[in-house]
Symmetry: C2
Subunit: 241 residues, 2 copies
Amino acid sequence: MMTADHKTGMKKGHGKLYGVGIGPGDPDLMTLKAKAVLEKVEHIITPIKKEGEDSTALKIVGGRVDLSTKNVHKLVFLMEGGRTQFQECGREAGDWIIDILERGEDAAMITLGDVSIFSTYMYLSSYVEDKGFETEIIPGISSFSNAAALAKIPLVLGNEGLAIIPAAKMDRIDVIMDIFENVVIMKAGSVMKAISEKMASRNIPRENATVVSRAGMDGEYIGPIDEEREFNYFTTMIIKR
Amino acid sequence: MMTADHKTGMKKGHGKLYGVGIGPGDPDLMTLKAKAVLEKVEHIITPIKKEGEDSTALKIVGGRVDLSTKNVHKLVFLMEGGRTQFQECGREAGDWIIDILERGEDAAMITLGDVSIFSTYMYLSSYVEDKGFETEIIPGISSFSNAAALAKIPLVLGNEGLAIIPAAKMDRIDVIMDIFENVVIMKAGSVMKAISEKMASRNIPRENATVVSRAGMDGEYIGPIDEEREFNYFTTMIIKR
C-alpha cells in the first residue's frame, strides 16, 4: 500500500531513483558516491539509442561494480530531439521505472560524463519526482574536465569566461570568440576544418586549439588540430582566444 | 643522481606531482582515482590564501583518506591576480615541490572542485613539467555540476550552449544572454540584485534562476533568487533564458 509522507510529499516504503554520472570513461573516474549507489541499488538502467546496441556506460561501471547480482536493463532512450519528444520519452521510461519503485526496489540510471551536461535524464527525473517518488542525482566528471586534465591546460582562470557549445552552434562562433577567452566545442569531429579556418581568419595561433578525441579509448588523440585525421563523435576541442 | 629518460625526457627515479580535484565538498564526491592517488603519495599539499588559514580542501580529504601517515603541507598560493603573478607563484611553489620530487617522493596538490576550472594549479604543473618531472592531473566534480545535481536541473541540452562566467563578467551579460540558453554565474553572491534586475528587464521569469549557495555546508541554500538573504563567495547561479 502506498502512503504519502505529509512533510515531504514523498511516498514512503517505495524505492528511489538515482541518476548517476559515471564520468568520461576511466572506471576510476567514477566518484565514491556513484560506486556506493550502484553497489546498493537492485536495478541498473543504461540508456541506449536503439535495440541491441552495446552500452559503453555499462562496460565502465562493470570495471568497478559487480553486475552479476544486479538486474541490468538496457532502455531505448531518446538522446536527441526537442523538448516535447524528451518529455514524452521521460514519461514512457518513467512509468516503466515507477513499476520497479512501487515494489520497494531502487533503480539507478547511468549516464556517461555528468548528468547535467547534454543528458536528457532530467526529464525522466522530474516526471518520476512529480509522481511523488524520491530521486537523487549524483554528478559526474564531464568530458571537458577530463579533456583539460589530459591536455594539462586550464579551462578558465581569474576573471575569464568559458563557453561550452555543441558543433551545431558554430554559426555563432565569431561573437562567442569576441566575448569569451575560452571556448569548448563538443562533438567537434565534423567541424574541425571550419574551426581551423575561423582561427586563421582571427589570427589566433594554431597552438591555441587542443583536440582531445576518444579519451581513454583505442585511438586516443591529444594534440593540435590535424586536418588529415578523421575525428569522430567523441571529440572535444578547447580553444584559447 | 638525476638521470634523464631519452624517450620521454622525464627524470627517472624521481617522484611525481599530481594535481587532484577533490570535488565540491562532500568527501564521497571524490573520484576513486583521487582517493587512490592521495592514499599513495607521501606528501599532500593544500593551497591557502594566507599563513595560518584553515584548509577546507584538507577537511574534505580527511573524510576519506587517513592523513596521520602523510606529510601535510599548507602552501600559501596565489589564487587571484594576473598571468605574470601566477607564473611567479608557480615557479616559487614549483622549486619547493621539486625538492620533494628529487628525493624520489610523490606529492599531490589538492584543489576544490575541478583542477581546470578557476584554479591556478596549471601554472605550477607546467613549471614542474618543464623542469623534466612527471605530472598528472586528476579531474574533479565542478561546483556547477554539483549545483545542477542538487537543484535537479540540466545545465545544457541538445543544441544549446552554456556560458560559465565569474561575477566580474556581468558587464557582458546582455550579449551573453542573447547567444546562450544557459548561463552559470560563479561567485554570484555580490551580483544577485543586478542579475535580478537584468532578468526583469529581459522579461525572463524569476523561476528561471536557481541559486545554490554553500552546497553541503552549514547554511546551504538551493532555491530562487532571494534579495533579502546574504549570499557569500560559495554561491553559484544557474539561469535559463
